[in-house]
């Protein structure tokens, strides 16, 4: 890491899910850990997210999902990232992700799976230890 480099994180809420308290708490915690955090608001489509990744060039994308649509949306996001040649970004999903869905999501390259009750410092450590560049 060159001097002056900051970890840049994109916090997104994909799909029709308006419950963003968790995303805001997370954004704030990552900010306080010295990272540059972009929060894109609610109701993002996979296209929105991938376009933002292209333009902002973050190190990490954190998807906050409480709607149950993770199995439908996450693979689409991963596929579109791949189509655009983006393979050095850590993509994590958290929120309400049932255990039985994790292997499927892992197979598509997603990480994290932090649910309610996770300590914020656990997530901060996770981000710092799993950067892909």
């Amino acid at each position: 890491m060159p001097e002056g480099r900051k970890i840049k994180v994109l916090v997104c809420k994909p799909g029709l899910d308006g419950h963003d308290r968790g995303a805001k708490v997370l954004a704030r915690a990552l900010r306080d850990a010295g990272m540059e955090v972009i929060y894109t608001g609610i109701h993002n489509t996979p296209e929105d997210i991938v376009n933002t990744v292209i333009q902002e060039d973050p190190d990490v994308v954190m998807l906050s999902m409480l709607s149950g649509a993770h199995n439908a949306l996450c693979p689409v996001i991963m596929e579109k990232l791949k189509e655009n040649g983006i393979n050095d970004v850590l993509v994590a999903v958290g929120g309400i992700i049932p255990d039985e869905d994790k292997p499927f999501l892992e197979k598509h390259g997603l990480k994290g799976f932090h649910g309610p009750g996770t300590e914020l410092k656990t997530i901060i450590e996770f981000v710092k230890n799993n950067l892909k560049r």
Partner: protein, 330 residues
């Protein structure tokens, strides 16, 4: 490092290359030097519009509406949104993008959020470099949104050709309007949220301030004539509604008018010269500061000087002069 591949891709208008180069110039000033060195000859095509104003005056929403209109006109747009870095943790929360959500998928648009990383003045250190990258990327217009400013964060006028300042009704009084700083660097005053009461009062306050300014300005080259007005741009005032897009056509007309004015009066040339002077000065300050820091931490003479200052046989000003001598740039 070799950036020729990325630069090649930037010249082919590839957004990912632009994004990666921006990350590099933000993080590494040595790399920035190398990159700007190779792309500088391709710059100079984009028109740079600065948008500034107090927090909550509606800068992002205003830019969002403006973007929609300009993109529909077929313009390629670059937007740089600067937000503040926490002085305590070094982190930042960049939220301007939320209000520009509508345009995420458009091809003719490149939005980039930047943290100011502690730089005063309303912009980030690398903002000038990012403007150049977006210029080479093929943007017709680059809009720079400053951090929410108070009264004296005026760096934007050194980077932008046209500066629009957003104001809102019922905030501030007429004394705020004649203070120095922001109000002096403005080309276009935009009174946003024109649907709120107090809009016309705000417009009146600004126009009174502008009248004061024009009647008391005199040409400093010719003191014999009293109060000769310098041929210069008189700022225009426009009230708009960023939610409905009302009066944006008038705003864009004024921008065009200002653009023509700069060209016809030849002011654009002196503006360019000043910009180059200013930017170079910034770079020199940065480089010299690094040199001085290095000297102070490594030169044994310095320790002697410090002791002399402690004994009161030398004062800090004289010590600074001695250090300038050591640097050999007297």
């Amino acid at each position: 490092m070799d950036y020729s591949d990325l630069i090649e891709r930037l010249l082919n208008n590839e957004p990912r290359a632009a994004a990666r180069l921006i990350t590099i110039v933000e993080n590494d000033i040595t790399a920035a030097e190398e990159i700007i060195n190779s792309i500088y000859k391709y710059t100079g095509n984009a028109y740079i519009l600065g948008v500034t104003g107090a927090p909550g005056s509606g800068k992002s929403t205003f830019i969002s509406t403006l973007t929609k209109i300009l993109v529909e006109q077929g313009k390629k747009l670059g937007i740089i949104c600067v937000d503040p870095t926490s002085p305590l943790t070094g982190g930042a929360l960049l939220g301007d993008r939320i209000r520009m959500k509508e345009h995420f998928t458009l091809n003719n648009l490149f939005i980039r959020s930047m943290a100011n990383r502690g730089q005063l003045g309303g912009l980030a250190r690398a903002t000038e470099d990012v403007i150049k990258i977006l210029d080479v990327y093929g943007c017709d217009i680059v809009i720079v949104e400053t951090v929410g400013v108070g009264q004296s964060e005026v760096d934007i006028f050194k980077s932008a050709q046209t500066v629009a300042v957003l104001l809102q009704p019922e905030v501030g009084d007429d004394i705020q309007a004649i203070k120095a700083g922001i109000m002096e660097i403005t080309d276009i005053f935009v009174v946003n949220k024109m649907d709120l009461p107090g809009t016309d009062r705000k417009v009146a306050e600004i126009s009174q301030m502008l009248e004061l300014e024009s009647s008391f300005k005199y040409d400093s080259n010719d003191f014999s004539k009293e109060f000769t007005k310098i041929r210069k741009w008189t700022p225009e005032i426009v009230k708009v509604n960023s939610k409905t897009g009302e009066n944006f056509d008038i705003f864009l007309e004024i921008v065009d008018h200002h653009k023509k004015f700069l060209k016809e009066t030849g002011i654009i040339e002196s503006y360019e010269k000043n910009r180059i002077k200013n930017e170079t000065l910034q770079i020199l300050k940065h480089k010299l500061a690094k040199k001085v820091e290095k000297l102070i931490s490594s030169n044994s003479e310095i320790e002697k000087y410090i002791n002399l200052v402690m004994d009161k046989s030398l004062d800090p000003y004289s010590m600074a002069n001695l250090i300038i001598k050591l640097l050999g740039i007297e």
